[in-house]
Symmetry: C2
Subunit: 120 residues, 2 copies
DNA sequence: TAATAAATTTAGAATGATTCAAAAATAAAT
DNA sequence: ATTTATTTTTGAATCATTCTAAATTTATTA
């Protein structure tokens, strides 16, 4: 456990949501000003591999990192771009039925309007 | 309609599956040797925007392009890496129920073993 | 606690997919 | 056939991310 890693973990604990590496870098810099981007990537990649966080990828955007390590769904608002968590009950079973095998992992990103951006 | 665009469309019609821009580039080159990568990207981006193909993104890999323009699901095999289509009936309704709003689009990528890579 | 080994961080260059800007070529419209 | 609009080409640029090697820090062992 290094001071740099501690800073990254602190930043992710104290800020809610789905971070880009750059966002974490800027926040971690406030905790530990000499920290460098490669350290952010090293640690985030390690955490993803050990399964303590998740990676969310969206084409044309940098990857985001999600504090919630369990497979779950995401909404990306087509109005404001905000990323939110969602849980669809029974989804894993539906996937198992459709594939006929064990689901090792999955990513579901839904594009729709978040409550604040809804017109109707 | 240019000869380059025709070559790209021909390549996508005659080869099944989910192409990277680079794969399309190499195949299109056989049809039209002077074609250039930027033309591939121009055309693919245009087709995605007009909704005649879809983009699949996978972190750490180049984007893939899917001839099937309808929202549907994908399996990426954790054994061989192959990308296959899948359809999960009732998924859209489950998403509508969970979000309470109209689903404009979605991407679902499932990581599991394809039939050829299954051990059990 | 000192010495050694192992892991992590740093700096900065490198990579790779993709985009961009400007010029050249081609297609469409008059 | 001319003009206008669109597309392609070239090659440089961008951006997120990874890599390499050296320096530093942490953990382990004596």
């Amino acid at each position: 456990m290094t001071k740099q890693r501690a800073a990254i973990i602190k930043v992710m604990r104290e800020n809610c949501g789905h971070f880009t590496a750059e966002e974490i870098f800027l926040l971690a810099k406030e905790e530990y000003p000499s920290i460098v981007r490669a350290t952010i990537y090293n640690n985030l990649n390690g955490m993803v591999e050990e399964g303590s966080i998740r990676r969310i990828c969206q084409s044309g955007h940098p990857d985001r990192f999600d504090r919630n390590p369990m497979p779950h769904e995401h909404i990306i608002c087509t109005g404001c771009g905000k990323v939110e968590d969602l849980n669809i009950p029974g989804l894993t079973e539906a996937m198992e039925d459709a594939t006929g095998c064990e689901i090792e992992d999955y990513e579901l990103v839904i594009h729709c309007k978040c409550p604040e951006c809804r017109v109707v």
